[in-house]
């Protein structure tokens, strides 16, 4: 018993040292630093959203509808303009960041978890389990993502968790394939043989020995897909299938601005810029992480 806790402590210490080293290197890496700072800003903004919104993002003053941004009117109330229902766009953007960030992180997180675990077990045990899952994932891959997502949303109705389900259902496949491949090659390595010879239980081997080695590429892929998920969520909201009004979501904001493209371009433009910045910062960070963690994954 004493042995186990001792090793656990060493493990933890090594883990944190590793983490610290990665953090330091991230900061030294210019692109990653830029991305990281931006993401932190976004996260902070999403966190304190309710406190810093200048106006009510849900209800609008119909007399203020279609107000141009402040450089045209000189008024500081509607900094980025007002939308078709008189709501302040800046407030809605700030508030909408929560949706995008939440949905993005949650769906990637769940996909990663599910995909990685399934992939690890499939790669390790092989057999029927592996076969079935692999075939299934192949079929899923050939399925057009948007149709699937639309179908799910149409089937289950719009809503936060339904959206996450739609995104995750196809999202796990990539993580599954990645982890499965890695586990497949790791299983042939000697330390696994050694652990087996020592009588270690299988699932323990997977979790303790193999997973730490494959986590690097997992994280890199995760950050790369995060941006994609956020864009997907926005696309679905754009089509009217994601988050429903009046909850502000950047995608639906862009959509609601469509009829006013000519006279009130700001309604569609600014939420899109917010999206762009968020995804950009994630991609920058992801690129930096990739340079540091796993230079092998150079192919998108």
């Amino acid at each position: 018993m004493q042995n186990r806790t001792y090793f656990l402590k060493i493990r933890l210490r090594l883990f944190f040292q590793n983490l610290w080293d990665i953090l330091v290197r991230l900061i030294a890496h210019r692109t990653a630093l830029l991305g990281g700072i931006l993401i932190c800003l976004f996260l902070i903004m999403a966190f304190i959203a309710s406190w810093i919104v200048p106006q009510n993002p849900f209800e609008g003053d119909l007399f203020q509808r279609l107000t141009p941004p402040f450089w045209k009117t000189g008024k500081m109330t509607f900094l980025l303009g007002g939308d078709e229902l008189g709501r302040d766009i800046l407030s809605r953007i700030i508030y909408g960041s929560r949706i995008s960030i939440w949905i993005g992180f949650l769906s990637v997180g769940i996909s990663m978890l599910a995909g990685a675990l399934l992939g690890a077990f499939a790669g390790y045990y092989r057999g029927l389990f592996d076969e079935l899952l692999s075939r299934f994932s192949e079929i899923l891959l050939a399925f057009p993502f948007l149709i699937f997502a639309i179908g799910v949303m149409a089937m289950m109705g719009p809503g936060f968790w339904n959206l996450i389900f739609a995104l995750t259902f196809k999202g796990w496949v990539e993580f599954f394939r990645l982890i499965r491949g890695e586990v497949l090659s790791e299983t042939t390595r000697e330390y696994v043989e050694a652990a087996r010879a020592a009588g270690q239980k299988n699932w323990v081997i997977i979790l303790r020995e193999i997973l730490p080695n494959v986590i690097h590429s997992l994280i890199v892929l995760g950050t790369l897909r995060l941006g994609y998920m956020i864009i997907m969520e926005a696309s679905l909201s754009f089509l009217g299938l994601g988050i429903q009004p009046p909850t502000p979501a950047w995608g639906s904001m862009v959509n609601s601005g469509r009829p006013y493209m000519l006279n009130a371009w700001w309604i569609s433009t600014f939420p899109g810029i917010a999206l762009l910045m968020l995804v950009l910062s994630i991609n920058l960070l992801g690129e930096g992480l990739r340079d540091i963690l796993d230079p092998r994954l150079k192919i998108d």
Partner: protein, 336 residues
């Protein structure tokens, strides 16, 4: 020998397609909303007998497995069923709109390649120069941009504000050329109608740029990284030691090798493009199969949705196969 291998690969793709067919079938059936109700909603009050007739006509009264069986056997014969809503064969509906998607896909692909590959090469050759940094930054923007937003911005800027390009659609009404391939740009050239050509060109431009920009960004990045790796190889040094001009070293010796990973990526993207990009088609009112699919889902038009999904998967699988074949030409070490 190669031919046989190709056939093998095609055959191997069939189970996947089958799986897709079954999946979409199940999927649609699970979706709440009765197609007949939706259809009838338009016709007003209808008697029960008529509803029953419709049901029988579309075999909706049969148990699910029977429906599946009918569907699959039809598929094998090449019959994709009949659309509930439009009452026309699904195959025809898709076929009519496929050239539009094809044209958009090809336009975007061409743009993406034409922009991405040279930028990728030059960024790698002149690493860390201003060109390199700017284009990589640009590429970052390119992959981070939501396509629906980019499309809208382009419309706002070029169509609404500047008025240079049309807002939506494929061609100005009445200027459509006689249909040979179904692709307006090609057909107008073939029939020698410059007005059609120009009109279809201006309509094609913005949507192609929207899709092409993202593609170009991806291509530029991967070209750059594989060129960088290739240029460090010994055989590039040998090419120089033989007395080749730098231009030849880069574009003959290095490029061939660097293209290999790029082709993989491009192949996947083609599959995606050909399947119909719903978002961009929506934004630009482009009459392709993407939009067809969206409308069909909302109308619970099972056969149509199934048909579109099948076609999409087919193009995806075919694109992968084409990439694999192309691979064997580029890299003599790989056989099918």
């Amino acid at each position: 020998m190669r031919f046989v291998k190709i056939i093998e690969r095609i055959l191997a793709a069939i189970p996947v397609m089958l799986g897709v067919a079954v999946m979409v079938f199940a999927f649609m059936r699970l979706t709440p909303g009765d197609p007949v109700d939706l259809m009838m909603g338009e016709a007003g009050v209808v008697s029960k007998a008529e509803i029953q007739t419709i049901r029988e006509q579309f075999k909706l009264d049969q148990p699910l497995p029977t429906q599946l069986f009918h569907y699959l056997s039809g598929l094998v014969r090449g019959d994709l069923g009949t659309s509930f809503k439009k009452k026309e064969p699904v195959g025809k509906l898709i076929f009519d709109r496929f050239p539009a998607t094809m044209e958009l896909a090809l336009g975007s692909l061409l743009l993406g390649l034409a922009m991405g590959i040279p930028i990728g090469i030059w960024s790698a050759v002149k690493q860390s120069s201003a060109l390199d940094r700017i284009s990589m930054l640009g590429a970052f923007f390119g992959i981070s941009m939501p396509p629906f937003w980019l499309g809208l911005i382009l419309i706002i800027f070029f169509s609404a504000t500047l008025g240079w390009l049309p807002v939506s659609g494929r061609i100005t009404y009445g200027l459509a050329p006689t249909s040979i391939t179904g692709m307006y740009m090609v057909d107008s050239l073939l029939t020698g109608r410059m007005d059609s050509f120009l009109s279809s060109l201006e309509h094609l431009l913005l949507p192609s740029v929207t899709l092409g920009l993202a593609l170009a960004s991806i291509i530029a990045r991967i070209m750059r990284s594989s060129m960088l790796e290739v240029m460090r190889q010994d055989y590039v040094t040998l090419a120089r030691a033989k007395g080749n001009r730098e231009f030849i070293v880069v574009h003959k010796h290095a490029l061939r090798n660097a293209l290999i990973p790029t082709v993989t990526v491009v192949g996947i993207q083609i599959g995606v493009l050909l399947g119909g990009n719903m978002i961009v088609e929506s934004v630009f009112g482009w009459p392709g199969i993407g939009r067809l699919a969206v409308d069909a889902i909302f109308a619970r038009d099972y056969p149509l949705v199934q048909g579109v999904v099948i076609i999409y998967s087919l193009t995806y699988v075919m694109a992968n196969l084409a990439v694999d074949i192309l691979y064997t030409f580029l890299n003599p070490k790989i056989t099918l």
